[in-house]
Symmetry: C2
Subunit: 411 residues, 2 copies
């Protein structure tokens, strides 16, 4: 064999794009991730990611849990497991969700490798090329990315202070009669930080029933409420047609990639088939560690702590915005979650302004990233308040304010 064998050389220039499936034309690298690369400069204060506060991770408790699991059930933890998920963990989740009025059996639950996988499997199940699906605009970037890969046709309604404007749905649905589901983030919407009140949830359910549509209820932050009372989940209002998603990413740790789906049994059975083909099953080891942590009451204590810290960080950001931002700016007041949504004066295009913000060592996600057609959000930005410490939040918003005022004054 000559020495060049095994080296990828430029001799053979294959036109890979011509070998790929249609859907790849719709698949782009996540704008967030690409932008995050731009913002990875020293000393930057980033409000761009959706990252939990790493200094709060229950590291010691994880270490204990790993030791327990490996010592007591090591062979099971390291072996192949059932696609449906680890039963003891599903029992814990069924019990936990009953406090929110979601009463289900284990056959209504599927463990997945993060909520993103839930969105992907839902896309695989429901979306043919060109299938219409309904979301708010703006909506969660990860859902856009997951469903673009299935060539979905996004039909959108705007948000107001109470979330998705559901009264606009009937005319949209009449115009798109092949629609398959409505995607909502009723608690502390990503990116907008808005929560949907009970009356609007009920109206949404009425419409879904009238048009015989599934509802995808994405609820990653429901437990991270800093004020007000819990609102009945849509799943409870329409358990026959709701596919509910939640995750350990924000309450425990995103690095373990663990989430779950609750849905009618025929849908879970179909999701199990899809998951078999997608990754066989979610790591048994990870599920057993999470179960150990949950059973010892650590999750509950930890969420309590997160609520305290994140509430303070939210308040710090709200105060800093009031102090430092130009007068023509506004923002939402989230009652929970990780994000708020700020609106800038017309002269500021947040996509263009990002370069100046980055130069001023502060980062955010420009609003356009949350619009399926990328048309919209030019004067909006998503700001995360969970990741940075309070002094950094203050400093970062100060930097943003200075940069924005400079921009408004003509650069």
């Amino acid at each position: 064999m000559d020495a060049s064998e095994g080296m990828i050389t430029s001799v053979e220039n294959i036109d890979w794009e011509s070998h790929l499936a249609e859907r790849t034309h719709r698949m782009k690298s996540s704008v967030i991730r690409e932008l995050l690369k731009l913002t990875m400069v020293p000393d930057i204060i980033s409000f761009a990611g959706g990252l939990p506060a790493p200094e709060l991770f229950p590291i010691r408790e994880f270490d204990e849990a790993c030791h327990h699991v490996l010592q007591n059930e090591g062979e099971r933890a390291l072996q192949y497991g059932p696609t449906e998920g680890h039963r003891p963990l599903k029992e814990f989740l069924a019990e936990k969700m009953s406090k929110y009025g979601i009463w289900v059996e284990l056959e209504n639950i599927l463990m997945v490798s993060g909520s993103q996988q839930g969105l992907d499997l839902i896309g695989k199940l429901f979306i043919d090329p060109g299938t219409s699906i309904i979301s708010s605009r703006p909506t969660y970037l990860g859902a856009i990315q997951a469903w673009n890969a299935y060539q979905a046709h996004f039909c959108t309604v705007p948000l107001d202070d109470d979330g998705m404007c559901v009264d606009e749905l009937p005319s949209l649905l009449d115009a798109n009669p092949d629609s398959r589901f409505i995607y909502v983030l009723p608690n502390f919407h990503n990116p907008a930080g808005i929560t949907m009140p009970i009356d609007r949830r009920k109206r949404l359910v009425e419409i879904a029933r009238q048009y015989d549509l599934a509802i995808i209820e994405d609820d990653p932050y429901g437990e991270l409420r800093y004020e007000g009372e819990d609102i009945t989940p849509i799943f409870r209002l329409a358990p026959e047609r709701t596919i509910y998603l939640s995750t350990f990413s924000k309450t425990l740790a995103p690095g373990i990639r663990l989430a779950w789906i609750v849905a009618p049994k025929p849908i879970i059975q179909r999701l199990v088939q899809a998951k078999q083909g997608a990754d066989l099953h979610t790591s048994m080891f990870i599920q057993m560690i999470a179960n150990d942590i949950c059973k010892r009451g650590i999750l509950r204590q930890h969420v309590k702590r997160l609520r305290q810290v994140y509430e303070q960080r939210r308040d710090t950001m709200l105060d800093a915005l009031a102090e430092h931002m130009p007068a023509e700016t506004s923002w939402t007041h989230p009652k929970g979650g990780l994000f708020l949504w700020a609106s800038t004066p017309d002269q500021i295009d947040t996509r263009v302004f990002l370069e100046k913000a980055t130069a001023a060592k502060v980062a955010y996600v420009p609003g356009f990233a949350f619009y399926p057609d990328e048309k919209g959000g030019s004067h909006s930005m998503r700001l995360n308040f969970s990741n940075a410490r309070e002094e950094m939040i203050n400093e970062g918003i100060y930097r943003m304010g200075i940069a924005m005022k400079k921009e408004l004054a003509g650069g």
Copy 2:
């Protein structure tokens, strides 16, 4: 709210199937998994799964690795990570693969959540509804399942003692000019246990170049060789067009769901986009644990031990087959891996016979499960020799022999 709210009742009987995407008609629950349920009866000896020997898992080493990782890099391990994978682990893999003549940079490697995810992402990238793809018959069940979900058109060539009959490829490719890739398992083929010699690998590469096709080289068992010399990987022969898959599932533990893909950079970039939408990234915690284990030299030692034990188990199964099976039966002699492929007399349909085998407390996977069209393999079965201890292998094959002789004698 009345008490029935939140309960899934049968009042609303939704016809879910009419709400689902076209592709779901091709998605079926894995035959293996459904059959495994049938065989989950007490005292059964199962040769059906592809499970490693659980008593050999390096449990103590995992415990140490968890402790190291959490103590030294806990915040990083539990946080979101890059889609591309954990760089130190990729460095280890690049170094390791160089021993097999695969010389690559980190940008040629993507970490995935098990090889099954690799197959799914490849499907997402390459397969439109009706796209032709080339495999052997029989072929790996998980690939059939992954690519059925993308509505692939499987075009197959038979296997002989040297693997895929590549000389039949040109006429098949002429008849299916839209074919996108050739899928091969050159080392210790699943299910057949056959290894492809170097000359045939070279011929395969020639044909792939002539027809400008990608090659998917699935190599989960390459390190588990019990006799003979390593054979040059196809990736080394055609690095410009080969997508190589390998995994920690058989060498370390399947419960961690960790594998990797090696491919030309443009393909890795596209796979990264697909993975972002599919599950964001593979667990950082898991990748860092694997890295810790690999760096301490444990993987190498462990694979050495697996080779010794699995070689003995293979030999035990070969001897037991010779002793107990009816005279008209034959089987392959794998030089590595986890499986052998047995052929039964014409009177025995392995799909039908499974019930009798299960009654006799022994299980296998019937051959039809490995045929994309389920036509074929009626007189074949896959037998796993890695999971059961030697005395159980003996006893299981004894039971199988008795049951088969009884069947041949007219039940």
